[in-house]
Symmetry: C2
Subunit: 550 residues, 2 copies
């Protein structure tokens, strides 16, 4: 039996219409680095989004489903693009300006972007790549920059303000099917080509509601949020769309993501909330220690992107009265997957075990753990498995390219359509996730898993050890076994493998203790400073490591 | 272009699964009137909901789309029915036990309810009606009651606990289309037959998310809410479904809706939030004045159902530290239509003008005002029109009956599908609604509207006037004009119509002042004590009133 409810699609234009009317007085403040920040109301953003849509359609010929890319920082114009492009039925494609040049070119080609909106300050990055970006017909330069860099380039060059000026400030947004593509974002996997995730109007709408729920961020128009997380990282965690739903004011850092200007803008503009990766906050704390600032307006900050050290959370809270809330997600999860508000009624100590977890799943994100033998593991806080998730804002495939079917790599999507996150962890009976390893770093030994991260953490607790990386190596009897690669401190003196082995034996199950050991001068690192274990595995395979078997 | 997001339906079973696992420790406490309240965890409710579904399907033969009615108070078993019936693909039909007997019989017949779940305490109400409820095959008695009243009745009688005992505590909930009917509720209009609103899984899910948003109630598992609003009134304003999404604890009053037990349960169980109509709070304040209780746990209460006197809001806040938040909705709007959290950054005086409004629309509820000439009125806080709303949890039709098409009366739904609320009001530029009249009580004079409520309020401010009702009467020149019917105070002495007219003339526009006046001994009232203006209009039409035209 069908209900008698109205059939109203959940679309980005609905959020825009609401935000720019009911919350028309709410503001986006963009930091300019010098002088007064730039301020614009939601009502103005709504009018300018309409002007942008008219310009894109009438002047640049952008049609439904056309991809329009942005290579921009966090600022009011980027928010205008966030709304105008999906609302008119086209697809917003945010480009990650930190990707290697070849990947950027590959991604623009794969998405077949027809237009690129670029901040003037990023022209030195874009200009040399434009000759290779063959699908791009128009470049729209937003804000000041050296446009001489574009001299002689093939695409037509426009200046944003001149392009939108004088156009109608309202737009008859089309009524779209809520499952229509609205925005896309490519993941930068360490192996293979980048993969495109295509968000729908529905997924953005529902995700925005979740961000605004009390159990997530729960902000209102009495709040101002500072998204330090870039708008080219999973839609700035959904904040730009979410704030238009509830009138939360935005403080935008533009390109000023360094500790000193962040401290300055927090003191001056008094945001109540912020969102960023841990390294940003670590830098901010150091800055504040060197040059104290009043950041008392901040009530809580959401931290995600990588695990946050508990010491950072405690320092922030004790020294600055800022509550740090852990969250987990990925490009494929829009990104809100978990938020670590602890359950009510716990002692301080119990609270911390929840707060340092990745957090609790909301109702729209179903989760399961798949163990080493492919069976589902219980939520007992102890049984580890690869996390798989399902929900209306979770990817079920990757973009296959124009006119191509979506692709569903087996290692990323289960046969029944759940996303394989590639993360290994445990879940408590009350739904709190703790991630321990990347699935590819787990050692599969005799049908059981050994956590390389756990072994590394224990080893690095030994007074003589500077760094340690544990990788899986093939083993005839057990399938895989751990190889411990250890960097000793300069002043460590003599330390035997047996001593390190016995040190571990007191901390993990006997069968998890590595037999294979090697000393190395340094752990190879990726460009972002993470352990590059595939280098170690390759060195082992080629026999380049001097391994002792105990 | 389609997105690559998973296509996951928004269903009641998803809310149930989440609430009974991730929030399995949250609790429903049901007041029993004597001794310890009854306590049950969300995990237990989830298990018992599964048992109920097994019993309904296997024992009572309830199939997909079958209607299962409840005639119950607010208690844990009613919550079990709230989840089990929709989640299994059947339709929950809550019966309003305050309706006249004939209407109850009519509604059960129209919905073709096959089963009625009834609280034992309500058997005296149900038993005499059962012979006329021909579609009902099974009666399930929940809790203690005089079952001898059912002796010899046609339907099979079951006892709830015996019926569900021993059945499996899990159920393989079907994956339903989110637009499937989940629950229904009939409105009790003052004219014509009651009209059935059929909620979908989608509408319940989205409404639950909205209830949990910071701008609405924004509760978390640190909260306990006391829904005094009955579960047979628009799903207790959506609270039972919403709390399972976020783990908010429920304090259920069962049938103890009187001021004394409410005060007692608030003191004993310390809820942080409550929801009820104004008369309940008025009674509670009087009770607390007579017998003080500690209600300091209450942080805020949501008031709706009818306009709340500002004095009540102030008293609650000043004497008890409880913030009263106004909200507006109706059966057709699920019901969340507006919530009156004021905008940020206002002075205390400005705040109150927002707080006494009906409130602000959320992003999912679009609104427009249709003026006397059928055109859309501006949101300027002054131009009045009939409120029409659109959104994913707003009705677009009424239930037509089994195998019948839904019905869309012209006076309730616009040609483009919006709900005509029948309420007249104004909307501020920032989206706050103030209702002034029912559309049928507005006087349409020369293409403009005159608010009967405003005239009445002014007249009742005159020292000699006890009551005043203003109704529209036909007028050759203006279409309609106001007729003022006035009840003088016993000690009023001589008061002329001219004096009353001049009194009004200083307060409203000249053209709004009535020419027609009559003194009556009392204003006719409906069964719930409201002015019954249709009686006055009929008396005027029949020439039964002694009208003076000035």
């Amino acid at each position: 039996m069908l209900s008698t409810m109205q059939d109203v699609p959940l679309t980005v234009s609905r959020i825009l219409r609401h935000g720019s009317t009911v919350h028309g007085k709410s503001r986006i403040t963009t930091w300019t680095g010098e002088g007064e920040p730039h301020r614009r109301t939601f009502a103005e953003v709504g009018e300018r989004a309409a002007q942008l849509a008219h310009a894109l359609r009438d002047e640049l010929g952008v049609a439904r489903d056309d991809r329009v890319a942005t290579l921009m920082w966090n600022n009011a114009e980027h928010v205008e693009a966030y709304f105008a492009i999906p609302a008119m039925g086209s697809i917003l494609h945010t480009l990650n300006l930190r990707l290697p040049a070849e990947q950027l070119v590959w991604i623009v080609h794969h998405a077949a972007d027809r237009v690129v909106l670029v901040n003037g300050s990023l022209l030195p990055l874009l200009a040399p790549l434009l000759p290779k970006m063959e699908t791009v017909e128009h470049v729209v330069v937003v804000g000041p920059g050296d446009t001489s860099l574009l001299a002689g380039c093939r695409p037509t060059v426009h200046e944003y303000e001149a392009l939108i000026a004088g156009r109608p400030t309202t737009y008859d947004w089309p009524e779209l099917d809520e499952r229509t593509a609205a925005a896309m974002c490519y993941t930068s996997g360490t192996t293979g080509d980048p993969k495109g995730v295509v968000y729908s109007h529905r997924s953005i709408y529902l995700h925005s509601m979740q961000v605004n729920m009390g159990e997530s961020m729960g902000l209102t128009d009495a709040d101002t949020t500072l998204p330090v997380v870039p708008m080219f990282h999973v839609n700035a965690w959904g904040l730009p769309h979410a704030v238009f739903m509830t009138g939360v004011n935005l403080l935008m850092p533009d390109r000023f993501l360094q500790p000193a200007p962040l401290a300055e803008m927090i003191e001056a503009e008094r945001p109540t909330h912020s969102a960023a990766v841990p390294t940003i906050w670590q830098g901010l704390l150091a800055e504040l220690a060197a040059k104290p600032r009043d950041i008392s307006s901040l009530k809580h900050v959401t931290i995600g992107g990588s695990a946050c050290p508990p010491s950072l959370m405690r320092t922030f809270e004790e020294q600055h009265g800022v509550k740090v809330v852990h969250a987990w997600g990925m490009t494929e999860t829009s990104p809100l997957g978990t938020v670590a508000h602890p359950p009510a009624g716990l002692s301080d100590e119990e609270l911390w075990s929840y707060r340092i977890s990745q957090g609790r799943f909301p109702a729209s994100v179903e989760a399961r753990l798949i163990g080493p033998d492919g069976s589902e593991m219980p939520w007992d806080g102890e049984s580890a498995g690869e996390l798989e998730v399902r929900g209306p804002w979770i990817a079920g495939a990757y973009y296959g390219g124009a006119d191509a079917d979506p692709i569903r790599p087996e290692d990323k999507f289960s046969p029944d359509g759940w996303l394989r996150t590639g993360d290994v962890g445990v879940i408590t009976p009350d739904g709190y996730l703790t991630l321990t390893d990347r699935a590819k770093d787990v050692i599969k030994s005799g049908g059981e898993w050994i956590s390389s991260v756990e072994l590394e953490n224990h080893l690095m607790g030994h007074p003589a050890v500077a760094e340690a990386a544990v990788v899986a190596v093939p083993d005839e009897r057990w399938g895989e076994r751990p190889l411990a690669t250890v960097v000793l401190k300069e002043d460590a003196g003599e330390v035997s493998y047996e001593e390190l082995r016995d040190f571990l034996a007191g901390k993990v199950a006997r069968w998890q203790v590595p037999e294979r050991w090697t000393l190395i001068p340094a752990v190879p690192k990726t460009s972002v400073g993470k352990f590059d274990k595939k280098v170690l595995r390759a060195q082992y395979a080629k026999g380049e490591l001097d391994v002792t078997k105990l």
